[in-house]
Symmetry: C2
Subunit: 490 residues, 2 copies
C-alpha cells in the first residue's frame, strides 16, 4: 500500500513542478503538496505510539522526535503514521535539500546508473568506475567553492572533517620535513606503530567554543557544543578559541560587536602562536549551527584567514550544515567575499553525500594509500548530489531561498516586535532561511509547534533554529509565521 | 549504451539463477557469466589509460588498481573499459557479497522502498521511518550473532568500530560512577568541554599488533598494520598486545603454536592489568585481514574472552572483513564455539551496510543523544543488506562457501607441494574461501595474475589474500588454481 503511494505521487509530480510565479502570484514548486498542514490526531497518535513501542525493542527511541511515513511525505511536508502532515522546517536536521519525494531525485534514484552504483559498490580508490570522473565533474565539482578544484569523497560529515584533518597533518609534517621528497626516518617509522611522536606527532586542530564538527574521536575533540556530546570520551588535548558573542540587533551594537570579534581574533592568534601542540589547522563553521546559531561578521572570518596565512596554519571551513544553498549562497562562506579561498571546505547533509574540497596540490599526500579507505565515498550518493545540483539550478533555488529568507526574516521581525519577551536575538538577516532566535521557553515552543502543524528544531541551549528546505516559498513562510503567532499567543 | 547493458543483463539474469547441481554437475549461479576470463588487451588497455588520465585531473589515481565498467561486470567477473573481463577474487577489498549485477539485489535496488529511502534519507534517531523496525528485524537483526539482539547502524567499518568504542567508554565510566542513575559531576561537566579528565577520561582500547580497525582518529589509534596507514596522525596513547605468529602447517607445529598463543594471552592480561590508561575494551579480528591474514586458534580467542570477563573489560570482535559468510560461517567468530558471546561485533564491507551488534542493555547509554548522529546509518543500505541476506539464504551460500573453500584449499595444497618456494604458509583451512599464503615475490604474482585473467589482492607485507565472493564455485576455483599454476611456472 505504502509503496504504491510513492510511485503514484512521483508519477503525479513528474513534470508537474511549476515555475515560481504565474501572473504575479506565487505558484508552488510541488503542486501535490497540501495547502496547509493536516492535523488528525495528537502527535504521536495511536498508530505512531504502537510503532514506536515496537521499534523500541530493537532501536533506541529516546531521541525519537516523530515517526514518519516518507512514502506519504511530499515537498515541504512530512507525514506521520496517523494521517498528520506537518510543514517541516527542520528537514532531517537540515539535510533534505529539495523536498520529500522530489520527482527529479526520484528519476535519478530509479535510473540504471543508480541501480548499478547500489549493487556494484566499488572500492573507489582501487577500482573506480568508468564514469567516476564524469560524475564528479558534472556533479560535486561543478559546485566546488571558488579556488578549490579537487574533492575527496567521504560518507558523512564527521568523517569528512576527519579526512580534512588528516590532510592538514600530512601537509604540516611535509613542510616540517622539508618537502614531499623527504623520506620518513626510521624513528618516525617505528614510533608511529606505537602511537608515539614523532611518527604520531603532537599536532593539533584548533576549533571554537560551542562549535560542532562531528562525534567520532578526532572530530569530537574539536566539537565544543554540549557535555552530552563529549562525556566519557577520551579526547585529544587540542585548543579552542572563543567564538564571538554578538549582540542583537547588530546595527545597535556595531562597535561592541567589532570589539568582541577583535578580542576573539587576538585570542585565536595567541593560541596559534603559543599552544603546546602546534596547530596544523583551524576548523570553523560559517554559522555555528548545533551550538545555537552563532553568527560572526565577514570581517571576523577574513581576520581568521589573515592569521592562518600569517602563521602557515590551514583553514578548514565546515559547511556540513551551512552548505548547499540555505544561506542564500551555495556556500555560506561566499558571503565573506574573502580574497584567499579557505584551504579546505567540508560538506555533507543537504549534499546527501560527503567529503572535502581543496585546491592546493600539496594537500594530495606525497604517497598513495595515505589518504585512503575501502569505499572513499559512494557513487550512489554522488549521483544523487548531482541530481540535487541540477534541481537547484533548474528552479534557481539559491536565489529563491535568499528572497524567501528575506521575506521570512521581515515577518519574524514584526513578530519579535509583537512578542519582545518571546523572540530574542533574532539573527540570520540576509542569510537566506538560515534564521534563528532565542526563546526563553524554547522546548515548549518546539513542542507546541506540532500542535499547530509545524515541525521545528532547536539548537544550543535556547535557540529555535529554522532549517527549511530550498523549496520553501513565501506561502510556506506565511504558514510558519502564523504558526509562531498562535504558539506565542498561548 | 552502458546503461542499457545493465538493464539487459539484469533482465536476462532475473529468474535465470540456477540451483547448484544439475544431474550431479555443478551448474553456475550466474549463467550469464563468461565461462572463462576474456583478455583483449594489456591491462590497462588504451581506453582505460585515457580514462585514468582524465580521472587523475580530479581524483588521486595513484592507488588505482584497475578502472572498471560495472555495467558489464557480472557474477564473479569484473569488466574493464577495453573488453577485458577478469575473474575477481578480490571483490572490492572483500566487499562484494553475491556477485556483480546480482539480479536479486537489482530487484531490491529498483524497488519503490529503495527509491524512497534514497531521496528521503531520514535522520534515523529523530525521525525514523514507519518500517525501520521491520527492516531491522527482517534484515540486519535476522543474522545477529548469537547472544546479541541489538544493533546500532553506522555508515562504514571505521565509524562502526568507533561507535563501539564509544559504547565501551560510556559503559566503563558508568560502572566507575556506580550505575546509570548517577549524575555527572560539575567537574566532569566542565572538564569534558576542555577535553580533559575526568570528563574526557584517559581510558584506552587495547588492540593487537598488525591489526587493522579503520583510519579515523580513534580507530586508527587501534590500527597497527603499516606506517603508511598511521604516519603523521596524532594518536591516542593506547596499548597493543602481540598477536600470535603461528607456524604452518599447523599440525606440524601444534605445541610451538600453543606456546605462542599462551605467551600472547599472558601479555594481553599483563597489559590489561598494568597499562597506565585503564583498558575499557579490546578489539580483535577473527583473522587479521589487512595485516596479512594472520590466524589464531579458537582457544586463543576463548582465552581472550576469559581474560576480558575476569577483568571486566569488554570484548569487541571486528568482523568488518571476516563477516557475512566468507569463512564458511556467517560470522567468523562462530568457529570458536565460545560459551559467552563477545560484547559487541562490528560489521561492514559485504554487508554493504555498517554498524555494531550488542546484547547487554547496559550498552545502551543512560541518556538519549549520547550515542547519536544525524544519519545513524542508512535505510537504503539496510534494505540492500536484507536483500543480500535473502540471497545468501536462497542459494545456501554460507555452506556452499565452506565446501568451495575446502575444494580450493585442497587444490592450493597440491600447488604448494609443486611450488614449495612460491606458496608459503598456506592458511585458512576450514575457513571457507578466506584463504591466504605468503609469496616471496607477491607484488609480481598479483600483477601477473591480471595477464592470466584473474584479479587478486594482497595483504600485509607478502600475503596473497583470496577474497572471492560467496557465489564463487568449484569451476571458478579450477580457473583460479590453473591461473596460479601458470603464474608460478613463469
Amino acid at each position: 500500500m505504502a509503496t504504491e503511494t510513492v510511485s503514484n505521487t512521483a508519477a503525479g509530480l513528474t513534470n508537474a513542478v511549476k515555475g515560481l510565479f504565474v501572473n504575479g502570484k506565487e505558484s508552488p514548486f510541488f503542486p501535490e503538496e497540501p495547502e496547509a498542514p493536516i492535523l488528525k490526531t495528537e502527535i504521536p497518535g495511536p498508530q505512531s505510539k504502537e510503532a514506536i513501542a515496537h521499534l523500541d525493542k530493537v532501536f533506541d527511541t529516546r531521541s525519537l522526535n516523530m515517526m514518519a511515513n516518507y512514502h506519504n511525505s511530499v515537498g515541504n511536508y512530512i507525514a506521520d503514521l496517523d494521517g498528520n502532515v506537518l510543514l517541516d522546517v527542520y528537514a532531517q536536521i537540515a539535510s533534505i535539500p529539495v523536498g520529500y519525494s522530489n520527482p527529479s531525485l526520484l528519476a535519478a534514484a530509479t535510473s540504471p546508473d543508480m541501480a548499478s552504483a547500489l549493487i556494484n559498490r566499488p572500492a573507489l580508490g582501487n577500482f573506480p568506475q568508468h564514469d567516476w570522473a564524469e560524475i564528479l565533474e558534472t556533479g560535486i565539482l561543478k559546485v566546488a567553492p571558488k579556488g578549490l578544484n579537487q574533492v575527496f569523497t567521504a560518507t558523512a560529515g564527521s568523517d569528512a572533517n576527519e579526512l580534512a584533518y588528516k590532510a592538514a597533518f600530512m601537509w604540516r609534517r611535509q613542510q616540517e620535513r622539508g618537502g614531499a621528497h623527504v623520506e620518513w626516518s626510521p624513528e618516525e617509522l617505528s614510533t608511529t606503530m606505537n602511537n608515539q611522536s614523532p611518527g604520531s606527532p603532537n599536532l593539533s586542530i584548533m576549533s571554537f567554543k560551542s562549535g560542532f564538527h562531528g562525534r567520532l574521536f578526532g572530530s569530537l575533540s574539536t566539537t565544543r557544543s554540549k557535555p552530552v556530546h563529549k562525556m566519557d570520551m577520551p579526547a585529544f588535548d587540542w585548543p579552542q578559541a572563543p567564538f564571538p558573542h554578538l549582540k542583537y540587533p547588530l546595527e545597535k551594537h556595531a562597535e561592541e560587536n567589532a570589539q568582541e570579534e577583535a578580542r576573539c581574533l587576538e585570542e585565536a592568534e595567541r593560541i596559534i602562536t603559543t599552544f603546546h601542540s602546534p596547530v596544523a589547522a583551524i576548523i570553523v563553521e560559517p554559522v555555528q549551527s548545533e551550538g545555537g546559531d552563532n553568527h560572526a561578521s565577514p570581517a571576523f572570518f577574513i581576520g581568521l584567514r589573515d592569521i592562518t596565512k600569517k602563521h602557515k596554519v590551514l583553514m578548514i571551513v565546515d559547511e556540513v550544515q551551512t552548505g548547499v544553498g540555505a544561506t542564500g549562497k551555495f556556500w555560506a562562506h561566499e558571503h565573506w567575499n574573502m580574497q584567499d579561498p579557505p584551504d579546505m571546505v567540508t560538506f555533507s547533509k543537504k549534499a546527501q553525500a560527503a567529503g572535502y574540497y581543496f585546491g592546493n596540490p600539496d594537500l594530495r599526500p606525497n604517497k598513495a594509500y595515505r589518504q585512503f579507505n575501502t569505499w572513499m565515498g559512494d557513487p550512489a550518493r554522488a549521483l544523487l548530489f548531482r541530481a540535487i545540483i541540477n534541481e537547484i539550478e533548474r528552479l534557481n533555488l539559491v536565489e529563491q531561498t535568499a528572497k524567501t529568507g528575506d521575506y521570512l526574516y521581515a515577518g519574524l521581525e514584526k513578530l519579535a516586535a509583537k512578542y519582545p519577551d518571546e523572540i530574542l536575538n533574532l539573527r540570520g538577516k540576509g542569510q537566506g532561511t538560515f534564521i534563528a532566535f532565542d526563546s526563553p521557553r524554547r522546548d515548549d515552543v518546539l513542542k507546541k509547534a506540532k500542535t499547530v502543524g509545524v515541525n521545528i528544531g532547536g539548537s544550543g541551549e535556547r535557540a529555535v533554529r529554522l532549517r527549511p528546505m530550498l523549496i520553501f516559498q513565501k506561502h510556506h513562510a506565511d504558514i510558519l509565521l502564523e504558526a509562531f503567532d498562535k504558539i506565542l499567543q498561548s
